[in-house]
């Protein structure tokens, strides 16, 4: 494709760069943080700041002790310089938020309010946003949660994790670590030791949560990591749809985001968990960006329970993430729908695990990987059928789309079947955006970038259609923006 001939003025160049990542600004706010480095004292300090009960501190310390003897996993197809865990600060919070906690929406620091407005997440309970309740997590703390009272009328608990520890300790204690134990893996153990905040959801028996619940994660402070923990419990016969979004400033340093998400669906319950991940991906040359090393797992504990993960991963320098389902209850269903896009120097190693334990369990995996520039995209997925999982079924489809000659796509399926009745289907494809497709669009008057965005969105359609409406629109735009400059 011919290069655009005209030269751009300095202002235009700046605008183009800006456009590449729209959320790269920094909020100038007084931050309280613990000095870099990890030790028992730091963990005690975090626990103390949050006024936690002894059992939780003990749990953290157990995880820390274990973590010290663990080694960072190296099996993923990603490469990055060694992380020095002593250079990271494990707790940073806006002073204003620490002082009073995330109590009243009216009392939020105006600077924080402005930040979320700029991100397109106004922290108000407006009519227009009546369908979505938001928990806003800023660095290590939750700064506000909307519609809490309204939800409470139905018995739905939606609050920050810290608040849940104080207000609903019995629930937290009962379920924390039951899906992702503190022993699970290097990053999960680290998270268990130092997690600072996150969201907590409990939907009582038979309640269909009337609005989308969402958490918006924002990393702001430099040289810090974000280690949030989310726990969602859907009691018998309940339903909840939960969304998460995330952004971070543009910085030359890499920042670690090691989160844990646990979902528990009891009998006949359904949890729909959607992610639009747009952490700062680093610049064209791979400088900066978030390391997104996340453990997400759902347990279909009860019969006929149903968990769906839908993710649109466009951000982060490195993504290491495998939202999984443990299909314990008979007739339970697990689903994983994923679009992962890597451009420039981004690397993603993502996929899922479907562990079939109960009878008649069913899982579906639809993965769409898009690689542009020097982006590397790996789908890594495991389907495991245990001996007792009679009549288990899985359908997997993994498609890759390559843009440009330097991008890469890899598919690594692991299949482990210990029941003779299991039915598994696996389809995979790799295609390239063809010059013929581009020309076809351009011949109809559509410019090349728009054409790529169209083709990519078409490729990802089966996954995007799983997202709640307003997020599908956002995700579509995001896929387009992330690919700007991928052609030409």
């Amino acid at each position: 494709m011919p290069e655009q001939q005209r030269t751009l003025g300095a202002a235009e160049v700046e605008q183009l760069v800006e456009r590449e990542y729209a959320y790269g600004f920094v909020t100038d706010i007084e931050t309280e943080r613990v000095p870099p480095g990890l030790s028992e004292d730091v963990i005690r300090l975090i626990s103390e700041k949050k006024e936690e009960p002894q059992w939780l501190l003990d749990w953290r310390l157990k995880a820390y002790e274990l973590w010290q003897g663990m080694t960072e996993p190296d099996w993923a197809k990603v490469s990055y310089p060694k992380i020095n865990y002593d250079e990271i600060s494990y707790y940073a919070a806006p002073k204003s938020a620490v002082k009073d906690g995330p109590q009243s929406l009216d009392d939020i620091d105006p600077e924080l309010r402005r930040t979320y407005e700029k991100l397109g997440i106004p922290l108000v309970e407006q009519q227009r946003l009546a369908g979505i309740a938001v928990d806003a997590v800023f660095d290590s703390v939750s700064v506000a949660t909307t519609f809490k009272e309204k939800l409470a009328e139905l018995g739905v608990i939606f609050c920050s994790f810290s608040e849940a520890v104080k207000e609903h300790p019995e629930l937290v204690r009962k379920y924390l670590g039951t899906v992702v134990p503190h022993t699970d893996n290097f990053f999960a153990s680290l998270n268990s030791a130092v997690f600072s905040d996150g969201s907590f959801v409990y939907v009582p028996k038979g309640v269909r949560c009337p609005m989308e619940l969402s958490t918006y994660f924002r990393i702001n402070a430099s040289e810090t990591g974000q280690f949030e923990r989310t726990l969602i419990i859907a009691d018998e016969g309940s339903y909840v749809s939960y969304l998460e979004g995330c952004t971070a400033p543009m910085r030359d340093e890499n920042q670690l985001h090691a989160a844990v998400v646990e979902l528990v669906a009891l009998e006949d319950a359904r949890i729909k968990y959607s992610t639009v991940q747009n952490w700062y991906p680093g610049d064209k040359n791979g400088v900066g960006g978030i390391y997104n090393f996340v453990t997400k797992r759902g347990k279909c504990a009860g019969a006929r329970s149903h968990i769906s993960w839908t993710q649109v991963e466009t951000g982060s320098a490195i993504t290491w993430k495998y939202p999984s389902c443990i299909l314990l209850g008979d007739d339970s269903i697990g689903e994983f729908y994923s679009v992962a896009l890597t451009a420039n120097r981004q690397q993603a190693d993502t996929g899922t695990k479907m562990i079939h334990i109960g009878k008649n369990t069913k899982s579906t995996i639809i993965s769409k990987g898009i690689s542009a520039g020097h982006g590397q995209n790996t789908y890594r997925g495991q389907v495991k059928i245990l001996p007792g999982a009679w009549n288990a079924r899985n359908f997997s489809q993994c498609d890759s789309l390559l843009i440009g000659p330097d991008s890469g796509a890899h598919t690594v399926p692991y299949i482990d079947v210990a029941n003779p009745e299991a039915q598994l289907e696996h389809e995979a494809s790799t295609s390239r955006i063809g010059e013929d497709q581009l020309f076809y669009c351009r011949q109809r008057g559509i410019d090349p970038e728009e054409a790529v965005s169209l083709i990519v969105n078409g490729f990802a359609r089966d996954v995007l259609s799983e997202l709640p409406m307003e997020f599908a629109v956002e995700a579509q735009k995001l896929l387009g923006v992330s690919l700007e400059g991928a052609v030409g």
Binding site: E435, Q437, Y440, F459
Partner: protein
């Protein structure tokens, strides 16, 4: 008056191989011209060069549209100025809804003509009207662009797009191939309805059959990368009877 399309002594190379070798062609506004020629003579190459496809290197000669040299013009810009190519082999775009695609194209073109964009409702009613005229299966407009379409459906989809985009120059590259006689008649009617003093067509075909339905003002014979003969509509009949026997004037 300047012709709508004016091609003089055009030489075009594809992957280092010369395909068009001094091609001359003029199409005045309001006229429909046919280009006929054997397989491999360069018909599709001509169509692609007019539309501005990359990889077709102009090594000599001139190509003007509306009096403007368009050799360096991007394909989307040509499209916005009214050049439409009905592809010999229409391309599939998986997952992209046909209606959505066409709406994007229409609005892109309208934007560049300073016309207001059509909203979904207006567009859909326009689309429905055109679909009916072409006897096109309504279900197809909801499906992804050309995905799983039969050969004939793809060709008809091209003409549907043309009737919605209302170009100034419509280039039809072997639109008749893959169409049965009924479909051929419907497509020809669609094209004929669009013929006007403000619009020209370049109808590329291998057979004269299509020209019984779309009667051209002029017929040109393309052989070995150049127009070797031009004439009235009777030329098409003669070619049908005699075949493309006439050798190129100067062998390569």
């Amino acid at each position: 008056m300047t012709p709508l399309l004016e091609i003089c002594g055009l030489h075009v190379e594809v992957e280092g191989r010369e395909i068009l070798r001094g091609l001359d062609l003029e199409i005045p506004l309001g006229e429909t011209h046919a280009v006929m020629g054997p397989n491999g003579s360069g018909k599709s190459t001509l169509a692609h060069v007019i539309a501005g496809r990359e990889g077709y290197e102009i090594t000599g000669g001139i190509i003007r549209y509306q009096g403007e040299d368009i050799a360096e013009m991007e394909p989307e810009e040509r499209a916005r100025k009214g050049v439409f190519l009905a592809f010999q082999y229409p391309v599939e775009i998986p997952g992209v809804n046909n209606t959505y695609f066409l709406k994007a194209a229409v609005n892109e073109i309208r934007k560049h003509r300073d016309q207001p964009e059509l909203d979904a409702v207006d567009f859909l009613s326009l689309m429905k009207e055109r679909v009916k005229l072409l006897d096109f299966d309504v279900d197809l407009i909801k499906r992804p662009v050309n995905e799983g379409f039969s050969g004939g459906e793809k060709k008809r989809n091209e003409i549907l797009q043309m009737t919605v985009l209302e170009p100034t120059l419509g280039v039809l590259d072997e639109t008749d191939s893959g169409l049965d006689i009924d479909a051929l008649r419907i497509v020809a009617e669609g094209v004929n309805r669009m013929r006007s003093p403000e619009r020209s067509f370049l109808v590329i075909t291998h057979y004269q059959r299509l020209l019984d339905h779309i009667v051209p003002d002029r017929v040109h014979v393309l052989q070995d990368g150049r127009i070797v003969e031009s004439g009235g509509r009777d030329l098409a009949h003669r070619l049908e009877a005699e075949g493309y026997t006439r050798p190129a004037a100067v062998p390569a």
